[in-house]
């Protein structure tokens, strides 16, 4: 089948992607590129991956018909419950896949970057599961903001190393992880947390996350008698949960895809993370994609109340979906997202992660038909964001 949205042999989605990496990383990235598809296709890999997703992660996650939301918005809203995964978000689908990949490549030392700490926790979790050494790079600023996740990683046996350069957030943690990889080229595997970085990472991560859309198809067939929804909605920082939720529908243009970005205080406020609006094509973390930068090509610091969407770039697949108009990109402010988070909590009894809450705001921004099937990827739960919710809504009063 001719595909328009799959990665090509050079690692590009349209004009986005590739591997813009220093020579020091070439052998590692090349090794992965040469082997990832072969390894993923091995029956023993598939068996182990699926078994862990089932027994350890708790998959399949439910596709839940949200009755009250559906009534309010006069359409059929389904929630893909990734918040019910072990560790509380979709992130673990990818870390399970990558740790199995690392083992098959004979790597003994795992590194990762993390912003809010969700990917760090998911990585530390699978390292504990496999008994591998785990080092997580985290911006010094984020370490202070996300103390509970730092504690979780430590309990799981990981070493958390502060990134003290630049703005001391996710982008700098990623730089530090890449430097560690350069310095330890033989025994170390870098588990990237999103569909970002040099090829083949965006494709590999999307494939591991594609279990989300595979399940949506099966579950919709059972519940609605058809595999395809009319809409799939997901939030996008780097874009891994969206990539997973969109994956099986990419080539079928009857399924409309909506990617929700964080507008922060407003797209034009100077405090935003809406990369598709504010970004220009450039190179970030080894990938040619849309990124927020100055005229002079210096990468700028984004802002969002949600640490998971606070990334100055976006995965190359999403840049391509934007460029080709395959997906509609909608920017949602802090305020709108926080209100949605509260609404979902009260109406469905589910406290979503603030990242995920952004996706729900689309229900207020867009009119759907009563017969439309709208699947929202509920990518993570809100436990980690409780402090932010408490402060924002003065809940401690």
């Amino acid at each position: 089948m001719k595909t328009k949205y799959a990665v090509d042999e050079y690692g590009f989605y349209g004009k986005f992607g590739g591997a813009f990496i220093p020579e020091m990383l070439y052998p590692n990235v090349e090794e992965l590129k040469e082997n990832y598809l072969k390894i993923m296709a091995e029956p023993s890999f598939q068996e182990e991956f699926n078994e862990l997703l089932k027994q350890y992660v708790g998959r399949p996650t439910p596709l839940y018909f949200a009755k009250r939301l559906s009534e309010k918005y006069n359409t059929k809203v389904y929630l893909k419950r990734e918040d019910l995964c072990h560790t509380g978000a979709h992130k673990v689908n990818n870390t399970i896949g990558q740790i199995l990949m690392a083992k098959r490549l004979g790597k003994t030392r795992i590194i990762a970057e993390t912003g809010a700490g969700q990917h760090g926790v998911a990585t530390a979790t699978v390292c504990a599961l496999m008994g591998l050494e785990c080092i997580v790079y985290m911006g010094e600023v984020d370490i202070k903001r996300q103390a509970p996740n730092v504690a979780r990683m430590k309990m799981l046996g990981a070493t958390v190393r502060p990134a003290t350069s630049g703005s001391r957030t996710l982008k700098d943690a990623t730089n530090e992880a890449i430097r560690d990889w350069i310095n330890n080229p033989v025994d170390t595997f870098y588990i990237i947390g999103s569909v970002v970085g040099p090829h083949p990472y965006p494709d590999m991560v999307a494939r591991f996350q594609s279990v989300i859309s595979k399940e949506i198809k099966t579950q919709l067939l059972e519940q609605e008698g058809k595999e395809n929804p009319d809409y799939v909605i997901a939030c996008v920082g780097g874009g891994s949960n969206a990539a997973g939720a969109f994956y099986e529908f990419l080539e079928d243009e009857s399924v409309k895809l909506i990617a929700v970005e964080a507008a922060g205080l407003g797209v034009d406020s100077g405090e935003s993370a809406a990369t598709s609006v504010l970004g220009k094509i450039g190179i970030i973390h080894g990938s040619k994609t849309l990124l927020m930068q100055t005229e002079d090509g210096q990468i700028t610091e984004p802002y969002s109340i949600s640490a998971g969407l606070d990334y100055p770039g976006v995965g190359p697949l999403h840049a391509h979906l934007h460029d080709s108009n395959r997906a509609e990109f909608i920017a949602v402010t802090d305020k709108e997202a926080m209100q949605s988070g509260l609404e979902i909590s009260k109406m469905e009894g589910i406290i979503p992660a603030i990242e995920t809450a952004h996706a729900f705001s689309v229900l207020d921004k867009k009119q759907f038909k009563p017969t439309d099937i709208v699947v929202i990827n509920l990518s993570g739960r809100g436990d980690k964001d409780l402090n932010t919710y408490i402060e924002y809504f003065n809940l401690s009063d």
Binding site: Y10, G18, A19, F20, I21, P22, E23, M24, Y26, P27, S165, G166, K171, N175, I178, R179, I182, N183, N184, P185, V186, K280, G282, I283, I284, H285, G286, Q293, E295, D296, G297, Q298, I299, T300
Partner: protein, 254 residues
């Protein structure tokens, strides 16, 4: 002939110095270049600062951050260097990451380099195949040498490929590491220097990463044509004024 290639033909070991343009002070660029030439440095890599220099360690990253804060930009660097060839004769290269060059426009960037008298570019995150397919013709049109890196992990097959496409020197990364992270060379690195020398490549090699004093310079140039000092020089500049550069160079090349 290109100044780099002329220099490579001289019967001597080459000392190349890297510094970040706009550091420590915005206007230091030209005076640093002049001081380096006057004190016997053979070649200079002018660092175009980038916010996220992946292949560099903390020293060069901090100098880049400072330079950007000082107000350094690509256009300003070209302005500062506009008349550099009135006085400076040694080869000058620009080392920088691909994104700022891409935003400036690669053709315009090369054009400016040629007009100023820049001899070559080192762009660590511009992959070989992208260079070949998209930029090789451009570099050749403007007489710029593109310098590729190899590391101890680079396969012989790829070294051959890099040697074929290069036509000045190969930047030999001394060990698998970011800049500024080693302390002296061990047997493993010496073996690697020797192994590469024994390949009899058509391009000579200049060693970078981990060179910081006379000892490491001599070790690195025993089998190779020259060596590049970066982080150690940046650290020196952080503590000493530009007119003291003489001291630094004299400790390396006696």
């Amino acid at each position: 002939m290109n100044r780099i290639n002329n220099k490579l033909q001289e019967d001597k070991k080459i000392l190349s110095i890297y510094f970040t343009a706009g550091y420590p002070k915005l206007d230091d660029t030209v005076s640093i270049i002049k001081e380096l030439e006057q004190n016997g440095v053979d070649m200079i890599e002018i660092g175009l600062p980038f916010s996220d220099p992946l292949a560099d360690g903390p020293t060069i990253q901090e100098s880049s951050t400072q330079a950007i804060e000082n107000g350094m930009t690509t256009s300003l660097l070209f302005e500062q260097l506009a008349n550099i060839r009135e006085s400076v004769k040694i080869p000058l290269l620009i080392m920088g990451y691909f994104n700022p060059m891409m935003q400036f426009g690669m053709e315009e960037f090369c054009q400016k380099c040629a007009a100023i008298g820049i001899d070559g570019l080192i762009i660590p995150d511009l992959p070989l195949y992208v260079y070949e397919n998209e930029y090789k013709t451009l570099f050749e049109k403007y007489g710029l040498k593109n310098i590729f890196l190899i590391t101890p992990q680079t396969s012989n097959e790829r070294i051959t490929e890099i040697d074929t496409i290069s036509n000045s020197f190969i930047y030999m990364v001394s060990s698998a590491a970011v800049t500024g992270s080693q302390s002296g060379f061990g047997n493993e690195q010496i073996d690697y220097f020797k192994r590469i020398a024994d390949l009899n490549l058509k391009n000579q090699q200049i060693v970078g990463f981990g060179i910081k004093d006379e000892e490491t310079f001599n070790q690195a140039t025993k089998y190779q044509k020259g060596a590049i000092i970066g982080s150690a020089f940046i650290k020196y500049l952080a503590k000493n004024p530009v007119n003291m550069i003489k001291e630094f160079i004299s400790l390396i090349k006696k």
